[in-house]
């Protein structure tokens, strides 16, 4: 069960080898989390993350495999993860994502479809099953990893950002649908984060490390805020950026 500070005892991570997710799992395990289920594509990397969770205090950490390009399999994957938890699940982190290679893929129909499947269709399908299970349980929390890129889509990453924008907006409605059910959904909107996903990408202002994001997530879980911005100042930065004229936006964003 979750405690008064929003610290869960049991946790399912969809996209469990994500660097940000791993940093959050480390902090959660150091606090109260005992049961961790990590679901993802790469068995080796998941095992590594599971071992890390145990090092940080989890009593059981197990893994579940799935293919994020196949949304029809999402329901099964979520079911397998909940079964592996073996009891009520307090927090589900949806961290599935693929940054892709925009310039090479933007004129490639198959790759563009893959970006939409992994970043949008699979998470949406998984959230339907997560929602059903948590509502039946009467409590629980969902943390969906969006991105500040979802607030205003940049030319240099529109396949990724556009899918995240869809997911982010869908989750606002999903969160509203959960009012009064005992279940809540929070949306994490990190800025540019140094991680394996962004290796080689040029850094931009307000870049943070994964531990800083995890720290912000812990505070966000305690406060219950619907949107968790990391770093928090990006809430205001993007309020401005969102309203820039397109021409100015391109100058700012396409560097």
């Amino acid at each position: 069960m979750e405690n008064a500070f929003g610290q869960p005892q049991s946790l399912v991570v969809l996209g469990g080898s994500s660097d940000i997710a791993r940093a959050v799992v480390r902090k959660l395990c150091a606090a109260r989390t005992e049961t961790v289920v990590l679901a993802g594509r790469d068995a080796g990397r998941l095992e590594e993350a599971a071992a890390e969770a145990r090092d940080y205090g989890a009593t059981t950490a197990t893994t579940v495999l799935f293919d994020a390009t196949d949304p029809t399999d999402a329901g099964r994957a979520v079911g397998a993860a909940f079964d592996a938890a073996g009891g009520p699940v307090d927090l589900v982190i949806v961290a599935v994502g693929l940054l892709g290679r925009q310039r090479e893929w933007e004129d490639d129909a198959a790759r563009a479809a893959e970006m939409a499947l992994v970043n949008y269709a699979w998470p949406v399908a998984a959230l339907a099953e997560v929602r059903r299970r948590l509502v039946a349980q009467g409590h629980g929390r969902i943390l969906v990893m969006s991105s500040v890129a979802a607030i205003r889509v940049r030319r240099v990453s529109y396949l990724y950002s556009g899918a995240k924008a869809g997911l982010d907006r869908l989750c606002v409605g999903l969160a509203d649908s959960l009012e009064g059910t005992g279940v809540s959904l929070q949306i994490l909107r990190p800025g540019f984060v140094r991680s394996k996903m962004t290796t080689g990408e040029p850094e931009i202002p307000f870049t943070t490390g994964v531990n800083e994001v995890a720290e912000t997530v812990m505070a966000g879980l305690a406060s219950g805020a619907r949107f968790i911005w990391s770093p928090p100042i990006l809430r205001y930065v993007f309020f401005v950026l969102r309203h820039l004229p397109a021409r100015v936006w391109r100058l700012v964003a396409d560097r």
Binding site: M1, E2, N3, A4, F5, G6, Q7, Q9, A31, R32, E34, G87, P88, V135, A136, Q137, G138, H139, G180, T181, G182, V183, M218, A219, A222, S223, G224
Partner: protein, 442 residues
């Protein structure tokens, strides 16, 4: 289906709420096979009276108040509140033997938490004044008491509803001549002074409690107001009366914005509270409600803590480990974690209940708003200190203890869980608290 949380308004969960008025209805609830827990007026601070995805039985339908016998014995439905009871009993010259700081608890809830009051050091906790209980369990209905199936009776006291649903309680009331308490008040400039005064003088008083300011630091660390007294006799007053306390005049209509209670506002409140108390005053008559139930002055005061809610941290440590009390006050004052006046009290002997909170020594209770990032860690550190000292935290207040430490603090938990399994082998009696601390697993 309804979202339920404790008085601290943290960690809500959703459950189906059924108001029960008969034992048959309780048995029918068990027959559904779902998880079941009883709930009264929801004054437990944490997650004791909720059970996510299950059935929560509202005991307010069990509302019969019997006639009070010449010996003060009365049969009460478990859903009768202390407020309901006092409205009836005070005019007849009877008071509850033990009362917490609010009248808004049910008799069933008072037994489930084995509540204590300002007289614990002389008269023990609530269950010590109970003659018998009708208890509905998944395996049947039984009557238990200190001399009838005592092991199940004591297992029920303090077990937060995990041995069954109490439907009726037979309680021995305390005889009173007036509705006033004669109160001695003293102000102390630091924690050591008030603790010395309590150690030395509490035995002379039936009721005793101190309010400690956890926001003052340095020389005035833990300055306190000590109030002690006993019921006024008819000859003590010019015009003795027996009137029940009235309802709260003030209320909080909606949740305050976050941050209303912050280090500055709380420091200012504590300063005013401290300065308003007399340095020394003797035998001041105070109405029962004002002396015993300060929490009932303002309805829904928990909303002042805003949408994130608050936790109450209450622990007890043995007499010789009073250093833990000082360490807790120092740690919280040093971190500037905002805390309203804390309550300090000395406990007398424990009762035989395995999960009852009180044990001889010092207890300190603090209200702490959820918010400061350092708070979870500080409370975890204090848990370690308390456990190491042979003390414990109060399950009726808890919303954040580690399950491992619950076993250290309540060493008879395994014995309790084994007994609970005999009356509920399928473990239907489950609350969020029980899940979080694994209380049914022993």
């Amino acid at each position: 289906m309804r979202a339920l949380a404790g008085w601290g308004r943290t960690a809500p969960s959703h459950a189906e709420v059924l108001t029960v008025a008969t034992e048959e209805q309780v048995l029918a609830a068990f027959a559904t096979g779902r998880s079941v827990i009883a709930r009264g007026l929801g004054r437990s601070y944490g997650d004791a009276a909720q059970s996510g995805g299950g059935l929560v039985l509202d005991n307010r339908g069990l509302d019969q108040v019997g006639d009070i016998g010449p010996d003060g014995v009365v049969r009460l439905g478990a859903g009768v509140s202390i407020d309901d009871l006092l409205a009836r009993s005070i005019p007849e010259g009877w008071f509850v033997p033990v009362t917490p700081g609010t009248r808004q608890v049910t008799i069933g809830g008072a037994l489930a938490a084995d509540v204590h009051g300002k007289n614990h050091h002389v008269e023990g906790s609530f269950a010590s004044h109970v003659r018998s209980v009708r208890l509905v369990t998944p395996t049947g209905v039984c009557t238990v008491g200190p001399d009838r199936d005592p092991s199940l009776f004591w297992a029920t006291a303090g077990a937060m509803g995990l041995t069954g649903v109490a439907t009726e309680v037979e309680l021995t009331l305390t005889s009173i001549e007036t509705d006033q308490v004669l109160v001695d008040t003293d102000r102390y400039d630091d924690l050591d002074a008030v603790m010395a005064a309590m150690r030395e003088g509490d035995a002379r008083y039936r009721y005793s409690v101190a309010w400690v300011d956890c926001m003052s630091r340095g020389r005035h660390l833990g300055r306190a107001i000590l109030t002690r007294g006993d019921h006024a006799r008819a000859e003590d007053l010019d015009r003795p009366r027996l009137a029940a306390p009235g309802p709260a005049r003030l209320g909080v209509p909606f949740a305050a914005p976050p941050g209303l209670l912050n280090p500055w506002s709380i420091t200012a409140f504590n300063e005013a509270w401290f300065r308003m108390a007399p340095r020394h005053r003797e035998r001041e008559p105070q109405p029962l409600g004002r002396f015993f139930h300060p929490l009932d002055g303002v309805r829904d005061w928990n909303r002042l803590y805003g949408p994130r809610g608050f936790v109450q941290y209450q622990f007890v440590v043995p007499d010789e480990r009073d250093g833990v009390v000082r360490a807790a006050v120092e740690r919280l004052a040093g971190a500037r974690v905002p805390s309203f006046l804390a309550v300090l009290k000395r406990f007398g002997p424990a009762d035989p209940a395995p999960l009852s909170f009180p044990q001889p020594g010092w207890t300190l209770a603090l209200d702490l708003p959820v918010g400061p990032a350092s708070l979870p860690g500080i409370l975890d550190e204090l848990d370690e200190l308390v456990a190491e000292a042979g003390g414990r935290v109060y399950l009726a207040k808890d919303a954040r203890l580690r399950p491992e430490l619950a076993r250290v603090m309540y060493p008879r938990l395994a014995e309790f869980a084994a007994l609970a399994d005999t009356i509920d082998p399928e473990r239907r009696l489950v609350s969020d608290l029980a899940r979080r601390l694994r209380l049914r697993e022993g």
